[in-house]
């Protein structure tokens, strides 16, 4: 197996040495990326290089869907048009009352001397493809940092929250879905304002409402919306509906499963919200003597 050329055919360093070199290089990159996220700049450069290839690879699918759109039947369009105008009518009514509510809210906030709510802008983006990494759940959308999309922005569709932008490349962006194992969304039960956190479990169609005590006031059918306390997601976006509760006294927490309100499979168009205004800084703790502070930390 070992292949050593005679000395008059020298071909650089040996196979094992080359393997060692490239393995070491990869390991350094892996460590720098996993622990310190140092590689984002390099990622962006490579993403720009790969962009034309990616466009080329996406072209057949997009051409097919365009041709498919061309041959949509008259009756289907008629039905969709009817449905949309009906929805539009309903929404128009809601919007009229909402305008009054916004004005009232602003007025009340002024009276109470509360901070103004920041206006949020949003960008329509289209899902290009589903992420290929089997260890995470992502979609890639066709708008990027050159269209004003920032990392951390919330992504919604017409029914609720889909996920969050985790990497913004110049012309594309990676969106981590809320069903990803590493995604946690702080939520609130609409019925009673109870706060909780929803965890992704790694596949579509189910989310986990974790760390709720057995006697927590959560019922089947409860609607969960974002609570907004994380400063990432805006307040009040529908996230999920509670679908199953198991209360077993053997465990400290109830096992609560929810059905997500939205999903990337529903439609291709999504809305990328702008980043929220940064939260005010944490209040500075009043200065105390060192001894006391240590004691207080121990107690807390």
């Amino acid at each position: 197996m070992e292949y050593t050329p005679p000395p008059f055919f020298r071909r650089g360093p040996s196979l094992l040495a080359r393997l060692g070199f490239f393995t070491l290089l990869s390991l350094i990159l892996l460590y720098a990326d996993a622990r310190f996220h140092y590689m984002e700049g390099m990622r962006k450069v490579i993403a720009v290089v790969l962009y034309p290839l990616q466009e080329l690879a996406d072209a057949p699918g997009q051409a097919a869907s365009r041709i498919g759109n061309f041959f949509v039947s008259q009756s289907y369009l008629q039905r969709e048009n009817d449905r949309l105008s009906h929805e539009n009518f309903l929404h128009a009514g809601q919007l009229q009352s909402q305008q009054a509510l916004v004005a009232e809210n602003q007025h009340l906030r002024q009276l109470l001397e509360m901070q103004e709510r920041a206006e949020q802008t949003s960008t329509v983006a289209e899902i290009l493809y589903v992420g290929r990494d089997p260890f995470s759940r992502k979609v890639i959308v066709d708008k990027g940092s050159s269209q004003g999309i920032e990392e951390g922005a919330a992504v919604v569709d017409d029914t609720g929250l889909i996920g969050q932008v985790i990497r913004a490349f110049p012309w594309t962006a990676e969106v981590a879905l809320i069903s990803d194992r590493e995604q946690v969304v702080p939520v609130q039960v609409v019925r009673n304002g109870l706060r909780a956190a929803v965890f992704g479990i790694g596949y579509d169609g189910a989310l986990d409402l974790r760390f709720m005590p057995i006697n927590a006031d959560v019922e089947n059918g409860d609607v969960l919306v974002t609570s907004g306390i994380d400063g990432v997601y805006p307040t009040g976006l529908p996230v999920a509906v509670v679908s199953n509760i198991e209360r077993n006294a053997a465990y400290p927490f109830a096992k609560i499963t929810c059905t997500p309100a939205a999903g990337p499979n529903r439609n291709r168009q999504v809305l990328v919200m702008s980043r929220l205004a940064p939260l005010p800084d944490y209040p500075v703790a009043p200065e105390v003597k060192k001894g006391k502070a240590r004691k207080a930390r121990k107690g807390g």
Partner: protein
């Protein structure tokens, strides 16, 4: 295809092919990268072999003097960015795969197509195991046994890869025709 290379004695070792140009190797690798970038979903994505790995392995075994670690490593970085995975996991896996390909190239090309598949399968599986190990170390969880299906489809596509990549290297029956 009148005589399948899958069955019967392989004629490839006796066949005299045109010399491989580096440009051709580059073109096939880029084509494989583009197939990997196709926007697939669902079970098709689960079954899809890693074409970049397959073509790299092919050239590593058949042209081990014309391809080295650098293209494998760079394409690995490209795959990492395209997939949004950890930066360097594919680069590491492809480097190790290239080592196996170059180290085993004399042995593998002695065998017939059916036995070559038996060599290719473990190499592809080891490559996936490296990715799995890296992700596990970084806190990822096992995605399920279907994860290894792409190695199996990749190994099964080995004869097709061989046929396809050899087409432009066949000598024309009549050199004056061109």
């Amino acid at each position: 295809m009148m005589h399948s290379p899958l069955f019967g004695k392989l004629s490839g070792s006796e066949e005299i092919l045109l010399p491989v140009k580096p440009l051709y190797i580059t073109a096939t690798l880029l084509a494989a990268l583009m197939i990997n970038l196709l926007p697939l979903t669902g079970w098709v994505l689960g079954l899809r072999p890693d074409f970049v790995a397959l073509v790299l392995l092919y050239w590593g075994i058949h042209q081990s003097r014309k391809i080295g670690f650098l293209p494998a490593w760079l394409l690995g970085l490209g795959m990492d960015v395209a997939d949004g995975s950890l930066f360097g996991q594919h680069a590491l896996a492809y480097s190790v795969m290239m080592f196996a390909a170059i180290a085993l190239h004399r042995r593998v090309s002695m065998f017939g197509m059916r036995h070559q598949i038996l060599h290719v399968l473990p190499i592809l599986l080891v490559m996936q195991l490296i990715v799995l190990g890296v992700r596990h170390a970084a806190g990822g969880e096992f995605p399920g046994w279907w994860y290894f299906l792409s190695s199996i489809t990749g190994a099964l596509l080995w004869p097709a890869t061989d046929l396809l990549l050899k087409i432009p290297l066949r000598q024309r029956s009549d050199p004056d025709e061109a």
